[in-house]
């Protein structure tokens, strides 16, 4: 009963906060919603029996990556920076416009269809191998929503920090799948190890990416992705 309740609340937190990352205008609030989503993923890990991965997730993301993101937002002018790009939906300047959102949603739907094709193939093989095991379809769906949201964030939003937020969501979707397969399909710790690697890589990627963002801001005085068209200043 508890574990169902924990799973449900973690899943709602993960999905709700991921969608909030997508639609929030204020980049600072987006970072905080990303924090909520990552905590939700940690809760899902805990319900899937991956204690160490859950704790490492909280340690690396809450203690490291989100604070790095917040620092980067503050060092690059915060929510108030002005961009030359037009906004068609009445959104904040770095929010993207309806075309970027349309392209993002289209791409993510294509990816979703491909993913479902792959997943259905995996389901068949797994059910062949292990009869009687419950397949983690719910976890798969959560991970799919996380992946799609991350992809839309990456394509639609024009703030470089927001794009990094999208990358974090995508990496989390992958790590979540690894842990789920580890529990339901292989019954060993391979998936947990892969998730730990993904978490560490996400931390390294955030550090390098945010360093580039801050340097870019020093040169161009904006973090709008459309300004980044040249390899030299």
């Amino acid at each position: 009963m508890f574990i169902n309740f924990l799973f449900l609340s973690s899943a709602l937190l993960t999905v709700g906060c991921a969608i909030a990352v997508l639609v929030t205008k204020n980049i600072m609030h987006s970072c905080i919603f990303l924090l909520g989503s990552l905590l939700g993923v940690a809760g899902l890990y805990a319900t899937l029996g991956a204690d160490f991965v859950a704790t490492a997730q909280i340690m690396v993301y809450v203690g490291g990556i989100v604070i790095l993101m917040l620092f980067a937002v503050m060092l690059t002018g915060g929510k108030d920076f002005v961009s030359k790009a037009q906004n068609l939906l009445g959104l904040a300047p770095s929010m993207g416009n309806k075309w970027t959102y349309a392209i993002g949603i289209l791409v993510s739907i294509v990816f979703m269809l491909t993913n479902i094709k792959i997943i259905s193939a995996v389901i068949k093989t797994v059910e062949h191998k292990k009869t009687g095991t419950e397949f983690p379809s719910t976890v798969n769906q959560i991970s799919l929503i996380l992946f799609m949201t991350g992809l839309i964030v990456m394509i639609a939003r024009k703030n470089i920090v927001a794009i990094l937020l999208g990358i974090e969501l995508i990496l989390n979707a992958a790590a979540l799948n690894f842990v789920a397969y580890s529990k339901y399909s292989t019954n060993n710790l391979d998936g947990h190890i892969f998730s730990l690697f993904i978490i560490v890589i996400a931390a390294a990627e955030a550090a390098v990416g945010l360093a580039i963002v801050i340097r870019f801001f020093q040169i161009k005085e904006t973090i709008h992705i459309d300004e980044a068209t040249q390899l030299r200043n």
């Binding site: 009963m1 508890f2 204690d51 704790t55 490492a56 340690m59 809450v62 989100v66 604070i67 503050m74």
Partner: protein, 372 residues
């Protein structure tokens, strides 16, 4: 499976009677036990946090040859209640330009981060809410929510003092996490596990059986941990985030009433938690100095009292240090962490590993007294 409070209590006879009372509904009984224990712990810790403010004022008064609070109740001990009522009834002011959502969220994050650590704090070997197999790692991880809370409190206030305080707080907390975590890792190496149950069971009640005197490296690790923990809880001499002589009161300058109270309460409880962790990791925790049967409830309660006593003694030292040492500068703070504490902590970790291999896991006392 992780050892929990419920699985510990289920070995007693009265658990069966309770189960009969709940008509065999184990889930509901477990929920009730957790709920009651959680309420008890939160109440106890809130009281300790409140008494912390009183102790702080009284001890500082002693050190400065003043009298301190002495009007409300005997020796002024009810001062904390008066302060609490004052905070509750104060007007809740929010700056006009503040970020409302984050302004409300920041004190909550601080409080959640601190209270979540209480789930694994080992009051005694049995009376521990959940003896997770990743216990100490969980504690270090979840307490980093406090850093986010401090940072957001500084950002959301939209004031220069708050901003500087929040920036300092976040950078300080994530920097000092490194030496603290590596020092804890040295102890994990000695105990061979991250759960508090394992760490406690590898120590004894007498000082020569404690991990702090296990070998020279763990002795140094204790002091590295203490210094780092002072910085992580924003206590003097590392109270740069709320340096009152330069930043008014740092990240909670703009907070009033109970929202300020949440920040203060979180800080005082975090100091207690950090002292408790030091007591459990280095000073033998709740182990009794005399050999008695440990799995009966009275022994457990005595153990809990021993644990709380050790933690409160360390709490006294923390307050003592605050009113003795002057505050560091920001550059000194960072050089202490990165140039001194982190290399020393890594040296300790390697030293502990070598000691465990060379002396086959025996402590200094074992080697000198010839125990096997």
């Amino acid at each position: 499976m992780n050892q929990t409070l419920v699985s510990y209590l289920s070995q007693y006879e009265f658990y069966d009677h309770l189960l009969a009372l709940f008509r065999g509904n184990q889930g509901l009984l477990a929920f009730t036990i957790y709920l009651l224990f959680a309420l008890a712990i939160v109440g106890l810790c809130a009281t300790i946090g409140g008494l912390g403010t009183y102790a702080e004022r009284k001890i500082s008064a002693d050190l400065q040859q003043r009298i301190g609070p002495n009007r409300v109740g005997p020796y002024g001990i009810l001062q904390m209640l008066a302060d609490g009522v004052k905070m509750m009834t104060k007007e809740d002011i929010m700056p006009f330009t503040a970020d409302k959502f984050l302004f409300y969220l920041a004190p909550m994050l601080c409080l959640v981060g601190v209270f979540a650590t209480l789930a694994v704090l080992p009051w005694s070997s049995g009376l521990i809410m959940a003896d997770l197999n990743v216990g100490i790692f969980y504690l270090v991880a979840i307490s980093s929510l406090v850093g986010v809370g401090v940072f957001l409190g500084g950002y959301a206030s939209n004031s220069k003092w708050s901003m500087l305080g929040g920036m300092r707080g976040a950078s300080q907390i994530i920097s000092y996490e490194i030496p603290v975590t590596i020092s804890i890792l040295a102890i994990v190496l000695l105990a061979g596990g991250m759960s508090f149950g394992t760490i406690l069971s590898h120590q004894g009640g007498l000082p020569h059986q404690w991990f702090v005197f296990h070998n020279p490296f763990s002795f140094i690790a204790f002091f590295v941990y203490s210094v780092g923990a002072l910085a992580e809880t924003n206590r003097a001499p590392f109270d740069l985030p709320e340096a009152e002589s330069e930043l008014v009161s740092g990240y909670h300058t703009e907070y009033t009433g109970m929202r300020f109270g949440f920040f203060a309460l979180a800080e005082y409880i975090e100091v207690f938690v950090v002292c408790g962790v030091a007591a459990a990791l280095f000073l033998g925790g709740s182990n009794l100095p005399i050999p008695v049967q440990i799995d009966i409830l009275p022994t457990q309660l005595v153990g809990a009292i021993i644990f709380i006593t050790k933690a409160l003694l360390l709490y006294y030292v923390v307050i003592w240090i605050r009113w003795t040492l002057p505050r560091l500068r920001v550059d000194q703070l960072m050089s202490v962490c990165w140039k001194y504490l982190t290399p020393i902590a890594i040296f300790n970790l390697v030293g502990c590993a070598v000691w465990m291999v060379v002396f086959n896991g025996k402590s200094i006392a074992d080697l000198l007294l010839g125990h096997h």
